[in-house]
Amino acid sequence: MIAVNHLQSYFKTEDGLVKAVDDISFELRPNEVLALVGESGCGKSVTALTVMGLLHRNKTVLKGEILFNDKSLLDLPPEAYRLIRGEKIGMIFQEPMSAFDPLYTVGYQMLEVLKAHTNLSIEKQKQRAVHWLKNVGIPEAEKRFNQYPHEMSGGMLQRVMIAMVLMLQPEVLIADEPTTALDVTIQAQVLGLIRNLQKNEGTSVLFITHDLGVVAEIADRVHVMYAGKIVEKGTVSQVFHHPLHPYTIGLLTSRVVKGKKGKELPFIRGYVPRAYEFPEGCRFHPRCPRKLPRCEHDNPPEISLETENCVACWLYEKGESA
């Protein structure tokens, strides 16, 4: 569906180029949920914004290619991009409260989308919008259609946003931390909804999150990002049961679990580096418990293993048994 090859997104700032996303490649396959997981500042949201073509062209340097159904997106003029955005690739955002315009009813904002992308009559548009509000499990959809964003809760608005994006039946859905602002019980509802809609509609989903628990619940494959690079790729069960990269291992073990009560929790030492001060060599080396001398200056390439896993770490240079 989407193939990203050697993508770089650099921001031009007063302090020089900030390498937010640095040479990443991945593909999103038909009918799958691919999770991009990483901590704040790892470039996962920038990746999503780049694919959507939402970055300011004059303030960023983009290199590499993004192919959508074998069509290169980065070369498209803004008008052509606009037709793909929304219609073919939809995106839902983290903060449902700030993603809507508070001055218009949610119905009006949904009709705006249909007006821009379809030729349906007003009645048909309204029918479709209400139908989709029902599809995402909103009770009293007709009444909700005429309500303003402030009259709804966060979970409800997130459902509206999902309806708004999916009513154009895009081939790809990019979900940027869609449940991070929600409570756990509501998060479970929304994740279940995304999962069901994905199955029913056959949409491919690029799911961006920092929460490994959410990844385990929803994804088919997962890519772990750290400091602007993808450090590990694999299917969910491979990554959760046999993590390879020391960073992935660190993330999985630093989870607070029951049964370890009273003992000190394992953790990754140090802090996540900021985008303008990424270290030389492997970007994880200052925090890595298994650092080799060459990690300090040589950036590890992506190493493919016999399984479907890929890992960017010198430990695996000679194969799987590191």
Binding site: T185, R195, R255
Partner: protein
Amino acid sequence: MILKVDKVKKYFPIKKGIFLLTAGYVRALEEVSFEISEGQTIGVVGESGCGKTTLGRVIAKVYDATSGRIFYTPHGKENNAIAQAAEIRKNTEKQIMKNYRKDVQMIFQDPYNSLDPRMTIGDILAEPLQVHKVCSSEAALNETVSQLLLKVGLYPEYASRYPHEFSGGQRQRISIARAIALHPRMIICDEPTSALDVSVQSQIINLLKDLQKEYQMAYLFISHNLDVIYHVSDWIMVMYLGNVVEIATPEALFEDPLHPYTSALMKAIPNWNPEERSLGETTLQGEPPSPIAPPSGCPFHTRCEFVMERCKTDKPRLSEIGQDRKVACHLRVQ
């Protein structure tokens, strides 16, 4: 015992119209009672709007309680606690109030908003020491600030830097240093790790636990994350819509949650095992009702799968069940 909270209630009035008449109340907190002693951690868990932050703020005297009482045992009088306890209210004697504020400190959720961006780290840490006149000289003050930074795992050189130069985890360490500056007996930790990255979260929890051991502080640990609460707490209070619905030890609570809300909350947590996806089984439908017009009877009856006729009219009281355990549910308490 440091603190006894007795049937504390907090309603926020809603003002309307040009005369600002009270049109109703947000019932943030309904009759919560508990006691906390040295070295103990009480975990408070619940979803947004359940009143857990309001509870912390009422105790820290950010808000005054609408009704109910808070008793505080001054230092050195813990033994005959109840007799010596002072009530904390609006017109409490100034000296007692001053001690109370020194003894009860707070750590906030968002380390980006809770540090003044125009003060250096040194000034931020020195402020409480100056207010309470703890240090006799400038040199002693600087020394104390350096010690505090070392204590939370930062370097003394950082004292001359500003908050924006630090990452979230480091800032939370600074907030912790500020909270322990006056050697408090109790810290209210309001979601101290929620804004942090996963890999940093455990560092902060470890630090808080080490400091607790060293200073024998009590923590009121507020969080929406059940895993974190399980790890740090001696007691857990589960809250829903301003009410405490269950109190238990972490082991008892996780092994056998008695209140239907507690078990629904546990089922909703992603379980980190791709082979055991549990999303489909989530039983909890709908959203919490508004605290402006809470449902009659049991606050949870609108979402409860075991709802009975009685639950709709009759509010269950938090009652003792077995040893060391309380639950507010008609299913469990006849």
